[in-house]
Assembly symmetry: C2
């Protein structure tokens, strides 16, 4: 079955088009065009990205981005200009991307907009075929050593661009700063960061007197948590982000000690919603005591990612109430990075840590950079 | 006269070498090498850069940086490996760089480590010859519209890299963020920034009760000011940084209103040190009153660069004492950037705004990126 649809590119509220100056309006030859394949094109970030792609247009000196395919769990669409053919997704459609796109002349970038833990296993094939990879998916870059090395290796050998600024801090310039400094021969001497808006919200609510189970229920009702909130409370997502930061800084071999909010063993056994609720309630009293203890010391508790002389940890930590890490606004992420060059003046980067628009913006910025590298 | 010297590359205190992981130590072919010509190689930033260049070594997947020439006001050195020939600088040595370097096969980058207001007039020639340009010198990028367009145009047409992250915030990721977002089609809706460590120091001292002339004398004795402190007090340097930020954001045509700490007309007439001192003292009383007024309103005064709906200004402004812009540590710079995508959660970037090591580090990071672009 084939259907034809039209992609709408109506102006999205809250997004200002680039206001080009007169000089930028002069017609000049664009540097080629780049095909963009979006996996997860119907998800939140994926659909926001596709909307922007159809609207952005080639800018002066930058290649044109052509959204050519979208693939989700069940459908595969092929776009040609604004006409779109939609087909059921064939089995093997992801596996054959490397050879199909790689054999064409036009440069291409695959954007993985999923949170699929297995899809990154295909990145090395794509990269080896000279296809760029852009993604907000943390599982490859934070994945096991072997996969991570294979991804890096493939990108380095083929020269195909690989970009993932949206994996940490939703595109705040945290990773780019670590990478630039590594390339210039410098490694950070310390990192302190709040990397989970969800955990900030939970700890902030507990500081205000809510129990753990109430705080989690509140975060969940606002759409801040994963479908299973124990995933957020495990600290694994924060550990992944710290892992990506450390790797970007060239510190590949640092072990990360993780202290979950809810212990791993009972979390694994809590298989349904009532079990999760019961587990959280069983921990309310212990967390009430920890928060009271923090308060008695004139501190507040936050969930921090840290790296320093004594190693790397993600854990609940007491900080002074006027610390920049206490009670961050909204889902904000903050990373404070110390450099041996100027230990008295650490770099401090704060930005929205999540959000569909912000993440899609970061992915698009990565995509433009990747495409520029390919179309050169 | 020709002398032969040896460049020392003894470990500089306070700088940690990149700790490569085992994977990074495997010998792989480097992607070519790039010649580096440093203008102002004996100045503070220039000599720190040359020291690092001799030490950094080619990193995996990155081109090797070969320091080949250094030029200052009187000398011209030619480096071949670690042997260096030093000659008196010939007239026209800068003018002939474009043709001499451009005619060779090896890719080259010129680093302008001066603060010379005229040297940037040569950037378009260099760029047109395919030579990369890296600089912490603000005068070209903040310069008059015609020169700025010529520089941009030359870089765009030739594809030669042009990098200047050290011009604003000493390499804090302020400019890279604005550029990335512009390329992705987004313009900031607001900017608030402290961009002068010198003015922060002066206003902080005045808040603590010093008079203007005392505050300036103190900043000067610590080496924080230009030889003529009226240059800092004019706000021109802050205006240049804001100009570079706005241009990077694609907002080329915004006028900047500048309110100096010392009015321009008497500042122009103060030709020697006693005249500068007398001028500052004549303004002590007026500034004492402004500071007292700020205090009576429970505010402190800082020198801010701002952009928003009502335009762009650099001026002394009253802020709340707990504002992130009040009393920044050391020479720290802070830029707060609002995006229409997430107006409630502006991005906030803080970092050391000055310092020889930090600036040289930013120039080196730019240089590595520029060289990667050339050696591709």
């Amino acid at each position: 079955m084939t259907t034809t649809t039209r992609i709408h590119s109506a102006g999205e509220a809250g997004f200002v088009e680039f206001r080009a100056s007169p000089g930028h309006r002069r017609p000049v030859a664009k540097r080629g065009s780049v095909e963009v394949v979006v996996i997860g094109h119907t998800g939140q970030v994926g659909s926001a990205l596709v909307q922007r792609l159809t609207r952005i247009g080639g800018q002066r000196g930058l290649p044109e981005l052509k959204f050519s395919e979208g693939i989700n769990r069940s459908r595969h669409i092929f776009a040609d200009g604004r006409e779109v053919r939609e087909l059921p997704r064939a089995s093997g459609s992801l596996g054959e991307l490397a050879s199909r796109l790689g054999s064409r002349r036009r440069p291409a970038v695959i954007v993985d907009c999923t949170a699929d833990p297995d899809l990154p296993r295909l990145y090395p094939d794509w990269l080896r075929a000279g296809i760029g990879v852009v993604t907000p998916n943390k599982h490859g870059l934070a994945g096991d050593e072997k996969l991570y090395r294979a991804i890096r290796e493939a990108a380095q050998r083929s020269g195909a661009p690989l970009a993932y600024s949206a994996t940490v801090g939703a595109g705040s310039p945290i990773l780019s700063t670590l990478r630039r400094m590594r390339q210039a021969g410098a490694a950070p001497s310390g990192i302190t960061a709040v990397l989970s808006g969800t955990l900030s919200h939970v700890f902030s609510a507990m500081t205000d007197g809510a129990s753990l189970s109430e705080a989690v229920a509140d975060a969940r009702s606002r759409g801040f948590t994963e479908p299973n909130p124990l995933e957020d409370l495990s600290g694994r997502d924060v550990a992944r982000k710290l892992r990506i930061m450390l790797r970007e800084a060239g510190l590949d071999e640092i072990g990360i000690h993780r202290e979950p909010v809810v212990p791993d063993a009972p979390a694994r056994s809590a298989s349904d919603e009532p079990a999760v609720k019961a587990l959280l309630e069983s921990l309310d009293e212990a967390w009430r005591r920890r928060l009271a203890q923090a308060r008695s010391r004139q501190t507040v508790m936050v969930y921090l990612a840290r790296f320093g002389q004594s190693g790397a940890t993600v854990a609940p930590v007491c900080v002074a109430p006027d610390s920049p890490f206490a009670r961050l606004a909204g889902s904000g992420n903050r990373a404070c990075i110390e450099w041996p060059d100027d230990p008295d003046c650490p770099m401090d980067i704060f930005g929205p840590g999540a959000g569909t628009n912000v993440t899609a913006g970061a992915v698009l910025a990565d995509l433009v950079e990747a495409a520029s590298g390919l179309a050169r």
